[in-house]
């Protein structure tokens, strides 16, 4: 009964936060949605910057040429763009899978501040380079070499490569999604394995908790964690699974190690490849990567439990304009986010806008009439992000 009451209070708070969220970003702050355009072939890769209007509308301001080359695709769980606002630094970091580097862009000037490659063996030509970071270090998952490269964040948004950590799933899986919280990095592999690392010294050191996820075991390998997010208090790691339904798994990591995951299945749509918590952690957004919709699940950050929320209608343009839904960014950096932006993987690509309304224990997700917003230079958009980043 108490849990039910708590849950209702949380949802009421979420409703209020959602209403507040529609008021848009704080004044005096330029908010961006950024996109790793992932160009391959002969066109240089770039990062597109979209300003966020008061109602969450997007206006494409500029594409910054990052001078390398991408691959126009790859793993869904590997987030190819991350942002930093800390200690006077405002940066956007973007990976370039073919040239194997990570580029830092100074937000105030929208110019490249620096770039760095990993070791000579590091590369992402097969399935991309995912990124995760805290204020000091940036971690790059190189899918060719199955390594996590550690870079230290330098002034001017530049990076210095420190070293590589070789990794692998228990059955030989390739590094895929990564998330960082405090001194912990959590990673997924393409064989269903998950693992956490201590990053207290910068370089990832396994916590010795590598395991095959519960959904992977139950499905005999048919489902596996793809992307990962971590709660603000570092209590739970939440995984979005490659699956033929929406499957998310939650692991209690409060001990500093991964524990056996609890599986939540909403049985709608296909492939919860990308997940993202709202700022107040009441909602977990799920991109139905291979389906055609966005799902919102209610999240109880005290217990780590997920409960059914709502699913949008079909996002416009499936098949005709795009083939996959990719990464997510929040419409609002406060409350329940008020919905999400979602990468629409096509040639050219676009960014969809899906708005959330919460009413008590129910919600609705609806695509904005002005959605999508074109990303005309991207032939395969998978990763987008918010600047400034979510607070955790």
């Amino acid at each position: 009964m108490k849990r039910l009451l708590d849950s209702r209070l949380l949802r009421a708070a979420a409703l209020i936060a959602g209403i507040l969220a529609t008021s848009g970003p704080a004044t005096g702050q330029t908010n961006y949605v950024v996109a790793n355009d992932d160009q391959s072939g002969v066109v240089h890769e770039g990062v597109s910057f979209y300003t966020v209007g008061t109602n969450g509308e997007l206006t494409r301001k500029k594409e910054v040429d990052t001078e390398g080359f991408g691959i126009s695709g790859g793993y869904f769980g590997a987030d190819r763009i991350r942002t930093l606002k800390s200690g006077g630094q405002s940066c956007v970091y973007s990976s370039e899978a073919t040239t194997g580097d990570v580029v830092g862009i100074v937000v105030s000037t929208l110019k490249v501040g620096g770039s760095a490659k990993g070791s000579k063996n590091d590369g992402g030509t097969s399935n991309g380079i995912g990124l995760a970071m805290n204020n000091q270090y940036l971690y790059a998952s190189f899918t060719d070499s199955n390594t996590i490269g550690t870079f230290s964040v330098q002034s001017g948004c530049s990076l210095t490569f420190l070293n590589d950590t070789s990794v692998a799933g228990l059955q030989g899986g390739i590094i895929n999604g990564m998330a960082v919280h405090g001194n912990m990095l959590v990673a997924t592999y393409t064989d269903g394995s998950i693992e956490s690392f201590s990053i207290s010294s910068g370089t990832p050191v396994s916590n010795g908790d590598e395991q095959v996820s519960t959904a992977t075991v139950n499905s005999q390998g048919a489902m596996y964690p793809n992307s990962v997010d971590i709660t603000s208090d570092g209590h739970f790691a939440i995984f979005g699974d490659t699956s033929t339904s929406v499957v998310a798994e939650v692991s209690d990591i409060s001990s500093g190690k991964l524990t056996k995951t609890v599986v939540y299945n909403s049985k709608t749509s296909i492939n919860s490849g990308n997940v993202m918590l709202s700022a107040d952690e009441t909602v977990l957004y799920v991109a139905d990567t291979e389906g055609d919709a966005i799902t919102a699940l209610f999240f109880d950050k005290t217990t780590g439990a997920l409960s059914p929320g709502c699913t949008s209608g079909p996002i416009r343009g499936i098949s005709a304009d795009w083939s996959y839904l990719g990464g997510l960014a929040l419409i609002s950096q406060s409350g329940n986010g008020g919905g999400v932006y979602v990468a629409e993987f096509g040639a050219p690509s676009a960014i969809g806008i899906v708005r959330l309304k919460v009413s008590g224990a129910t919600c609705t997700l609806q695509e904005d009439p002005k959605s999508p917003v074109a990303d005309p230079t991207s032939p395969g958009l998978l990763s987008i992000g918010n600047f400034p980043p979510r607070s955790f």
């Binding site: 869904f76 390739i174 139950n218 490659t242 291979e290 389906g291 098949s319 083939s323």
Partner: protein
């Protein structure tokens, strides 16, 4: 993971092959030349005997050839047509002479059941043979593809098969079916026609007509890496852009009996013959080797990968021009684009000579099926599904019995369906994936009852049928078919799968046990 391994394997194979392999396979015909029927081997006094060697080479354009070589009186030929009569004995010896490759980067689990043939790890150099569409036992030295492994360099493997007396006259085909690597070998051209004689007895419309045996194949430089592909007609490249098309010669206005096999690895053929730009009616005689109870005219004949269509074509009149081509076919957002291609230009020639179909010495004069009137003993639901971990994979391909867990095929798996000889079952097969799949059943034909829940106008007997992709909204597309497990010869364990060969190789396949 598998995708990555296969990609690396491909690079390695291409690299090594071009450098090291001499031309083990016969030269293939140049583009723009007259298409001729494959060399054919006929049974003699009720016995068909042949020895064929599977070899491997790389052509000057970098395409890998896998070829069934047969020594004919005129020299070595590739993938001859086998011609048998119902009731014949088929004695076939296969020699695997694929040049040993460094295939250490990938192999598939070997079956743990009774090994048939050489055993050992299954690699890209292993092979076996599937007698596609034939209603023969799924046992060792017959049509077993689960346990039969023929390793390179080993002594010849002998097949001994009794063609049922009730085998319908029509076009079947043979090809390797070695799990994990079927796509490699069929992409390389290892496939040929198998004709059960006697069509003229069942469908007299074809009696005395010139016969064309046309095998459409498909070749990729690397079969599972997206990129341009080439269709070929009897091994002659049909270029999609530029170049000269294969030539089919006909006398003006004459009727010919065309027997077309879709031996591509994944192309859905939407066939038309156009005269002066207009689709001509094609008189359909048989599908998947099963003669229709009544012929029908169609402008377009859709043949999924592994399917066959036999039909009568009337040549253009003098002064007209004709083409044989496949229309573009949408296989869905995650499917391979099947583009429009001209397979051949029809060249009118008063002196064109085409061999007339041989007359079978003895064959059934009627083929009838009472399957439509049977009461099904079981209803089952299966579905195709896919999971993408990324745009380039890893991709998992599943065919699943509803209620069971999704999993890919493993050589040592237990059958996912068990039934008995005498059973007649109705199966509904849904497609929950965003690309079209081609459902294929080994050993038996099935009767097509419904598409998307609605009864079909023509209840044809097929062994392979397309299940269209899911659009992302609305109900899944489906087919409902009636399986006939009454013939005692099909007792045993065999497989059903998607006949897009990459999907099959990656596990969109399972076993069924038919108990005696």
């Amino acid at each position: 993971m598998r995708s990555v391994s296969r990609w690396l394997l491909a690079i390695m194979i291409c690299g090594f092959s071009i450098a090291e392999l001499a031309a083990q396979c016969p030269a293939r015909p140049d583009s723009g030349t007259v298409v001729t029927n494959p060399f054919s081997i006929s049974s003699q006094k009720g016995v068909f005997t042949a020895q064929m060697t599977l070899a491997h080479s790389v052509d000057s354009a970098g395409y890998t050839h896998y070829c069934y070589k047969y020594t004919a009186p005129s020299g070595v030929v590739e993938s001859p047509t086998w011609r048998l009569n119902p009731g014949d004995t088929l004695n076939l010896e296969i020699l695997n002479r694929i040049k040993s490759q460094d295939d250490s980067t990938m192999n598939m689990a070997s079956p743990e059941e009774a090994v048939c043939g050489d055993g050992g790890p299954i690699t890209v150099s292993s092979t076996n043979v599937h007698f596609h569409g034939m209603e023969v036992p799924p046992t060792c030295h017959q049509d077993d593809v689960i346990n039969t492994v023929i390793q390179p360099g080993s002594a010849g493997f002998k097949f001994n098969i009794q063609v049922p007396t009730v085998q319908p006259p029509g076009l079947y085909w043979y090809h390797p079916h070695i799990h994990g690597f079927t796509e490699f070998q069929v992409n390389g051209g290892a496939a040929g026609a198998l004709i059960v004689e006697g069509m003229e007895k069942v469908r007299p419309e074809v009696s005395g007509l010139p016969e064309k045996v046309l095998i459409v194949r498909q070749q990729y430089l690397v079969p599972w890496v997206p990129g341009p592909y080439e269709l070929t007609l009897n091994y002659q490249v049909a270029p999609s852009i530029g170049g000269s098309h294969p030539i089919i010669q006909m006398k003006p206005g004459e009727k010919q009996f065309w027997r077309v096999a879709n031996a591509t690895i994944q192309d859905f053929l939407s066939l038309q013959v156009q005269v002066n730009g207009k689709a001509e009616p094609l008189e359909v005689i048989a599908l998947d080797g099963f003669p229709l109870s009544k012929t029908r005219n169609q402008d377009t004949i859709l043949i999924p990968p592994a399917g066959r269509a036999e039909f009568i074509v009337q040549a253009p009149a003098k002064g007209q021009s004709g083409v044989f081509f496949t229309q573009a076919y949408s296989t869905g957002p995650t499917g391979n684009p099947d583009i429009q291609e001209t397979l051949a230009d029809i060249q009118l020639n008063d002196n064109a000579s085409s061999p007339v179909m041989p007359i079978a010495p003895a064959s059934p004069t009627t083929i009838s099926s009472d399957l439509a009137n049977q009461t099904p003993t079981a209803q089952r639901k299966l579905f195709f599904s896919e999971e993408f971990g990324g745009t380039n994979g890893p991709i998992q391909f599943y065919i699943t019995v509803d209620g069971q867990k999704q999993r890919v095929f493993e050589a040592n798996e237990k059958p996912v369906i068990t039934t008995k000889i005498g059973a007649v079952e109705d199966w509904t097969i849904e497609n929950r994936a965003l690309e079209t799949h081609a459902f294929h059943m080994h050993q038996i034909h099935f009767l097509v009852l419904e598409v998307d829940g609605k009864p079909v106008a023509n209840q044809d007997l097929r062994d392979t049928l397309q299940v269209p992709f899911w659009e992302g909204t609305g109900p899944f597309h489906s087919i409902k078919v009636r399986m006939d497990f009454r013939p005692p010869v099909v007792a045993g364990t065999f497989v059903f799968h998607c006949h897009i060969l990459l999907h099959e190789d990656l596990g969109m396949m399972h076993k069924i046990l038919v108990e005696p």
